[in-house]
């Protein structure tokens, strides 16, 4: 199988890494806040938290241009924030506030920051892969040099849209990167129990002549490197890449799922490889002072604390908003 496995790199500029580390922390604390606010009844509906998978979002975003396109799933808080959505507007969205990033019309599963070309979080498994291919096709047609990235879970590799998107992307040599966040589980069922090959994404890439890579998704530098290479291929007109990032979620699948279907030893092993721990090790290796690291931690804590307060203070969504934004003219009239 045309699949390489990348060793965690041990280079990388310290200052940038510190910045990435702070982003990891901001996302982690935002996810913790979302979890607590859900338990407190301040977040309705459902949440799918990405705590444990932050390095995929932060490492990937580091390799992208501001105008590149990102498409994510219902488990997408980390991607929204890594691409510029603020913790405040995300938490406000979850709390049904007027200041929510989607005006409280989307909710946790649909965080979107179009002004930063983070073009949405989609809750139908696999549906956004063709969209990402389409955004890449658009970039190709416009000669803009942009690339598109679709982040998706291991479970998405068994749905038809995955197959159609990868084939089209390969045939049209589209500048798109398919990043699978393989966290070993779908909702409550292990991906291995329903997938014909060991590596659900990378193991399929050869069927489309697409180069693939399996990487440590908990190492932000590894993700950054792998994405840099894939983005370069795409921008140079060499077509799509599949990246399968091995990672793990710290919470259950959604809402209050305790994730009891996961063996304790497995959970322990992965918790030990928490992306924050891995990043901190890199920082130490790069000789960053404890003071600098603590400063980043304090900053992240402050940012999220302020976000929680602001979101709590924000006004409830206006019921009249239910009847706007269906059409481009802002309205919802279906009769003339």
């Amino acid at each position: 199988m045309d699949t390489t496995t990348r060793e965690p790199v041990h280079a990388g500029p310290a200052a940038e890494l510190l910045d990435l580390y702070q982003q990891l922390l901001v996302i982690r604390r935002t996810e913790k806040a979302a979890h607590d606010l859900f338990l407190a009844g301040l977040v309705k509906g459902t949440t799918h938290l990405a705590a444990g998978q932050e390095a995929v979002a932060v490492g990937a975003a580091a390799a992208l241009r501001p105008d590149d396109y990102v498409f994510a799933t219902y488990r997408g808080h980390h991607h929204a924030i890594a691409r510029g959505a603020t913790p405040e507007e995300c938490l406000a969205e979850l709390m049904s506030k007027a200041t929510g990033v989607c005006k409280a019309k989307g909710g946790s599963m649909h965080l979107t920051k179009a002004s930063h070309n983070m073009l949405g979080s989609y809750a139908i498994v696999g549906a956004h892969l063709p969209m990402a291919a389409g955004a890449a096709w658009s970039a190709q047609l416009r000669g803009s040099g942009q690339v598109a990235v679709a982040f998706f879970g291991d479970g998405a590799t068994n749905i038809g849209a995955f197959h159609e998107a990868l084939n089209l992307a390969a045939v049209w040599k589209l500048p798109v990167i398919f990043v699978c966040e393989n966290n070993l589980y779908m909702e409550y069922t292990p991906i291995a129990s329903v997938t014909a090959v060991k590596d659900p994404a990378a193991g399929r890439a050869p069927a489309y002549g697409i180069p693939a890579e399996i990487i440590d998704g908990n190492d932000v530098l590894t993700v950054w490197d792998a994405m840099r290479a894939a983005v370069e291929r795409a921008r140079n007109g060499n077509g799509p890449t599949v990246i399968e990032a091995r990672t793990y979620r710290h919470y259950g699948h959604s809402r209050t799922d305790p994730g009891k279907y996961r063996p304790e030893a497995e959970v322990r092993e992965w918790m030990a490889r928490d992306p924050l721990t891995v990043a901190r090790a890199h920082l130490r290796r790069l000789g960053l002072s404890d003071a600098a690291v603590e400063q980043a931690e304090a900053a992240a804590e402050r940012i999220v604390a302020e976000a929680i307060d602001a979101a709590k203070q924000a006004p409830e969504a206006d019921p009249a908003e239910a009847f706007t934004d269906v059409w481009a003219d802002g309205g919802a009239a279906w009769r003339s």
């Binding site: 509906g45 068994n158 069922t189």
Partner: protein
């Protein structure tokens, strides 16, 4: 395992209804995502895997087309598959099977095959799940001749209709309403079977006929409670199925009340109530003393925030207001 008795939830009724049929017919098999050891995302298949084991209860990949397509192939070859599509919004991911394959293969082969399967799915809103996990899609299925459609409102109807659906030689789409899972009611007696296509008058009344389905049945009953003290006697008809559609019961009720309100959770445009209204405006025209009205979901996607969602879907207030206006027409 013993049959459930006493008061049970709608959620428990789903698993109970399936279990009763699996006990009496070994050709009944279940397949779907996370329905086995996990007992289903909505806990509507709890206990089935434990009682019937992995040869009767199959966890699938996230492959809606394979789930329903395989169910179709199995149904054509001697099994009675019960396929779960987790949320009814996802019927769109296997729509070809529901629109073009399952309902047509018997007809287009001149009656050579039958497709005795059930596609179960969690339908409807009110839980703040947003635009892609909250739709009432029973009207999608209603656009397709060749599908039978059940949408129960109570635990005992779940059990009685599940029995008919699984025993049916024809394909049945079985809509379980997410908003009703926690609701309670008496468990059904042993061998409780409700024929497909029999509406129920769940509250008699002489002034206004309110036709409801699934989630809108409790909403309409609550509205009727509100209106009773005002001297407005509402007759609530629970269709229970869209196909076969029991228009006889609806027309008889309208013949009595001369006033009709249809309460649907699906959007007004293309909602099933349009077809019901058009039949009454044709065959029941002379009964009518007032316009036919529909309280349906607004023609917008489902918003996330509760307060916005309440603006869009039918509520007790909206139904009560509509009935009041009809009563004085």
């Amino acid at each position: 395992m013993a049959e459930l008795t006493g008061t049970i939830t709608y959620r428990e009724a789903v698993a109970e209804g399936i279990a009763r049929e699996m006990r009496r017919d070994s050709s009944v098999v279940c397949l779907g995502e996370d329905i086995g050891a996990a007992g289903g995302v909505f806990k509507t298949t709890v206990g089935l895997f434990e009682e019937f084991g992995p040869r009767r209860v199959w966890d699938t990949p996230i492959s809606e087309q394979a789930i329903v397509g395989a169910a179709m192939g199995a149904a054509m070859t001697g099994m009675r598959p019960v396929a779960e599509i987790m949320f009814s919004d996802f019927l769109a991911c296997c729509w070809d099977y529901l629109a073009n394959e399952i309902p047509k293969v018997r007809y287009m082969t001149g009656g050579q095959v039958t497709v005795p399967l059930v596609v179960r799915t969690a339908n409807g809103g009110g839980l703040g799940f947003g635009a892609q996990h909250s739709q009432a899609t029973e009207n999608w299925a209603f656009t397709v001749p060749g599908l039978k459609i059940a949408a129960p409102a109570t635990p005992s109807d779940v059990i009685g209709l599940m029995a008919s659906a699984i025993r049916s030689e024809d394909p049945v789409v079985f809509f379980e309403h997410k908003g009703l899972f926690a609701s309670k009611g008496p468990a059904a007696p042993a061998d409780h079977v409700i024929p497909l296509g029999e509406a129920a008058i769940v509250r008699p009344g002489r002034d206004v006929t309110v036709v409801a389905l699934a989630s809108t049945v409790p909403v309409s009953r609550a509205a009727a409670e509100v209106l009773a003290p005002e001297g407005i006697a509402v007759e609530v008809v629970d269709l229970r199925c869209l196909v076969p559609l029991d228009m006889r019961t609806v027309l008889e009720s309208v013949a009595k009340t001369s006033r009709l309100l249809i309460v649907e959770e699906n959007p007004y445009q293309g909602g099933w109530g349009g077809t019901v209204a058009s039949i009454v405006a044709d065959e029941g025209f002379e009964f009518l003393d007032a316009p036919i009205r529909r309280v349906a979901a607004a023609c917008v996607p489902l918003p996330f925030a509760d307060r916005l969602e309440d603006e869009v879907i039918p509520t007790v207030d909206k139904v009560a207001d509509a009935v009041r206006r009809l009563a004085v027409f």
